[in-house]
Amino acid sequence: MTWETVIGLEVHTQLATKTKIFSGASTAFGAEANTQACAIDLAMPGTLPVLNAEAVRMAVMFGVAIDAEIGLISAFERKNYFYPDLPKGYQTTQLEKPIVLEGKVDIQLDDGRTKTVRIHHAHLEEDAGKSLHEDFHGMSGIDLNRAGTPLIEIVSEPDMNSPEEAVAFAKKLHALVVSIGICDGEMAQGSMRFDVNVSVNKKGEGLGTRTETKNLNSFRFMERAIVQEVERQIDLLEDGGEVVQETRLYDGDTHTARSMRSKEEANDYRYFPCPDLLPVEIDQAYVDAVRASLPELPEARRTRFVDEYGLSDYDAGVLCDEPATASYFEAVAGQCGDAKLAANWVMGELAARLNSEEQLIQYCPVSAEQLAALISRIIDKTISNKMAREVFAAMWDGEGDPDSIIEARGLKQVSDSGAIEGMVDEVIANSAKQVENYCQADASKRPKMLGYFVGQIMKASKGQANPQQVNEVLLQKLNALL
């Protein structure tokens, strides 16, 4: 039996404003509990919301970046439900008239295909606070610092058909909102959270019943949650059961999802227009001005990397996945002047180390300037690639700039041709047998036999001879003996 998977995403994206969407309280992350929750955020009687202009601008910025129609008149509604982290008893959100209407996002898949994912709409809303369920004498603790943080909820059409496509879409959105500066993209801090709608159906039949898995805050969790949910639904259906329309909650600790509530007991949100907020009106000139201020988008950057730096499509794609990585690469390439080498280092040694230390490039202990200085020392042949890796590790551990590390560790590569010739001569003189074998061997086999000599010479130089130069001199001298 062939099953088809249909996936749609709702993406909650925290906007990088300085203050809340409806109050002048700070949104800075990591403050002490409730020190950034003012009377409006706490829903004190008599307070009124006033909309943050920057939140509107950022939402419009997202809209123009995905080529969407902008809602020149948008309006806020109240979504009513009870939960202690929502002191007003309703979330102020947009329903009938969102600020961003239909748009689209192109995603690149591993097999080279490009696919368009349609965006149904994106709307402005406020985030809720946080409930801490550790036991406080049988009670829960509430931190309302996050309450009122501006969000845009981006709602896709169900245009994705595999976990890979869903992840590619999520990553693309992430790169997009970070590169246009409307979100800090810090997934671990909850700056971007995904709800996934999944259904399966037999090939050729209509859509199946969908479930929604909420609050996934990493690409990895999202992928696992989708894979599991697809399996669960197919198992159910193949055993003659039925999928129940329900909301499921994913637990990142156990990697399992459980049912939160089913459709029958679904909340009735009783939406109605918020009487505290008037419709928001913007004009075309405003939208045009925001469009004109749009920085380079990841797609354009990727193309430019291929054209300007001569990188392969694949390398450009990897570098542009994360805007911070792309910027880091550009800084390195610009300073050292060798884009290819810069790309190799950023995607190779640097990426591997960031990965193994689970570190974001934003907090990389080796700055772009330092890495560029290191690469410059490879280009001017002061050190070999191998030595550079040692220097890189030392820079990572905070031992300072490449030049001082090279100096301190005596890593200078010997490029003095006289010294190298001397070492080559000595090794040839001490390897009579190998030289004889070399001279008698078939010409096609000789290149492989060089390894022995190179190894001896490198050993003699304690690894500091310039390998390229060693090869040249060695070849010249051996061939003279033929």
């Binding site: 700070s26 509990a33 409730n34 909309l51 202009a53 920057e54 009670m139 509430i142 309302l144």
Partner: protein
């Protein structure tokens, strides 16, 4: 449109309000009176009329994105029923 006892109970549950039997009767009656008024309003033909958010046709004013609130946690928590470690404490949330 009118509502019955069951609707009142459902509304009470959504609003987390306990509604006693006698209040349920009374509430249903009052709400139905309001709904009758709504029916009357809805009978008006509003084809081709844009909904109005307020009678003056005013639009939302926006504020600059500048921090204007300081930390007044102590004052707010002084009137909260229970707090600890800067948190507001509430009956345990069971989902």
């Amino acid at each position: 449109m009118s509502i019955d006892r069951a609707d009142i109970e459902k509304l009470g549950e959504l609003a987390r309000i306990h509604i006693s039997d006698e209040n349920a009767q009374e509430s249903a009656k009052s709400i139905n009176e309001v709904l009758a008024l709504v029916d009357q309003l809805q009978a008006v033909d509003t084809t081709n009329i844009e909904p109005l958010a307020n009678p003056l046709g005013a639009r939302q004013r926006l504020r600059l994105d500048e921090v204007s609130e300081s930390n007044r946690r102590d004052a707010f928590q002084a009137i909260a029923p229970a707090t600890e470690e800067g948190l507001y404490l509430v009956p345990k949330v069971i989902e």
